[in-house]
Amino acid sequence: MASTMVKGVALGSAGTSATPSPTTNEQDYCYVGSPPGFSVANHFADTGTVWVKFWMDLTAFFPSENSVNSALFDGLEEQLIAARNNGLAIILTLWKYPPWMNGLSGTTTGQFQQGDKTAAMRIPDDVSTTSIWASMITCILTAYSTGSSTPRRSGAYIDVLEICNEPNGMYWPQSTPAGLRTAGCKVGQMMQTALIISSWFGNQATAIAGPGAVDYKNEGSPDGMNWNTPGSWADVDHTDAVKFSQDVVASFTSVGFVPGTRAVFTMHNHTDIELQRTYVAKVRELALRGSWAGWPYANVNDPHLWITEGGLTDGARVRLGIGVSAWPVYRALLIQIAWNNLHNNSTSVTGGGAGIDLFTYYLFETDPAFDCGLIDSVSMGRATRPAYAVWKGL
């Protein structure tokens, strides 16, 4: 079945995890700045972007087992209400785990534990319905689900709760010392638990999304984004996106748990954009088709997925060998190609096709430390980039 892909933009996590300050934080949906009328909210309206993705850094929002950071909740709610009032649909993505939640009490969240992975990226062992992790999900859904009878603040609702971020690259462990892949199965269990909790709030309750996996492909290539571990689909740092997704799906199907129409399968496509490929479409064909009875029809023969993050940093420019002066236009071109490859029933040679329903770009105002944005940061002068015009025209 054909689909109509719509546009979303993910704002930076600083917009919700820094001390709330919409007057100075350009990743805050309520940021206005200058010139007049050039607000973050206006970027969405101006470009026809209908979804916004916010972040919840769990280490910041839940600093200890017995307390929450109310100021951050308040700041997030201001943005949720403003976005909803402007007609946007909202994804809230969870990331990072405080030590009290993932069993690493006594360590600091930034401390390296395994390779380049920090304590905050350790997946909790217990993600069952009575786990501490589940209590946190209950807290969030009680606050922000449309079905909640006790929301934190009227009007501050979310449409989708994405339960993790890039677990096949950011989280650890990916597998056991003996090489048995575990991360995908664990994320599948997390999605099940969140769906069970959400079901308590009724049929119109918040949809649950995941895994938000990186489009890693184990095929050894010179681009530097992929890796090649002969004979293995996972190493200490990565799990191939198709294999990881198959593990997520298997954790549902093996226990007879039907995801249902409120379960949204999500992927990121940074590398797809960079390499002009559509590995996310391979995920749909190889991991979801025939197995994933999730959003929108709970039909294994027509599974859909959403892209909840993608973008092109200066690192991509370097890997592609593009000069600095040519990069703004080249980046815009790659975004256009990525969109074309996935939109509706594209039959491009790189794959793609129907079933990708949301394309989320990472950042309007850019983050100089992860320079993907469609607009220069405030410190750079806040000029729109060629990619902004392309995004607006999609």
Partner: protein, 130 residues
């Protein structure tokens, strides 16, 4: 040798000799006991799963009760998965990767015996009902 830590979880409904070995944290012996007596332990788990059934929100007055009911079901299914690992290890094999694992629960929500699950996997009969 496998890491037996997960087998010690008190939420897992091990009975009899397996429960005794868990309390002693005798990992190798526990895995061996479960693996050599897979059929008997599986039968107990299947009966427990059938008696519990799938929790429905309307049957509970509080969210906490609802989540606890799901936790009991999840523990039974997880126990079956570990039981299979124990059987495979006891027979000298290596546990399959998650995506290649045979189903644990059938379309009509029965806890499946490993042999039946392997048969379903071979013949592609692992679809779940919506």
């Amino acid at each position: 040798m496998i890491d037996a830590t997960e087998f010690y979880d008190p939420a897992l409904p091990w009975s009899g000799r397996a429960d005794e070995l868990r309390s002693k944290r005798a990992g190798a012996a526990l895995v061996s006991e479960l693996g050599r007596n897979y059929d008997a332990y599986h039968e107990e788990l299947a009966e427990t799963a059938a008696s519990l059934g799938r929790p429905q929100p309307e049957n509970y007055t509080t969210l906490q009760e609802y989540l606890e009911a799901w936790a009991r079901i999840q523990a039974v299914v997880r126990a079956e998965n570990l039981l299979r690992v124990a059987r495979i290890v006891a027979s000298g094999g290596r546990p399959p990767q998650p995506a290649d694992s045979p189903p644990l629960v059938s379309a009509d929500e029965r806890l499946l015996h490993l042999d039946e699950a392997l048969e379903l996997q071979v013949h592609g009969g692992t679809e779940t009902s919506p």
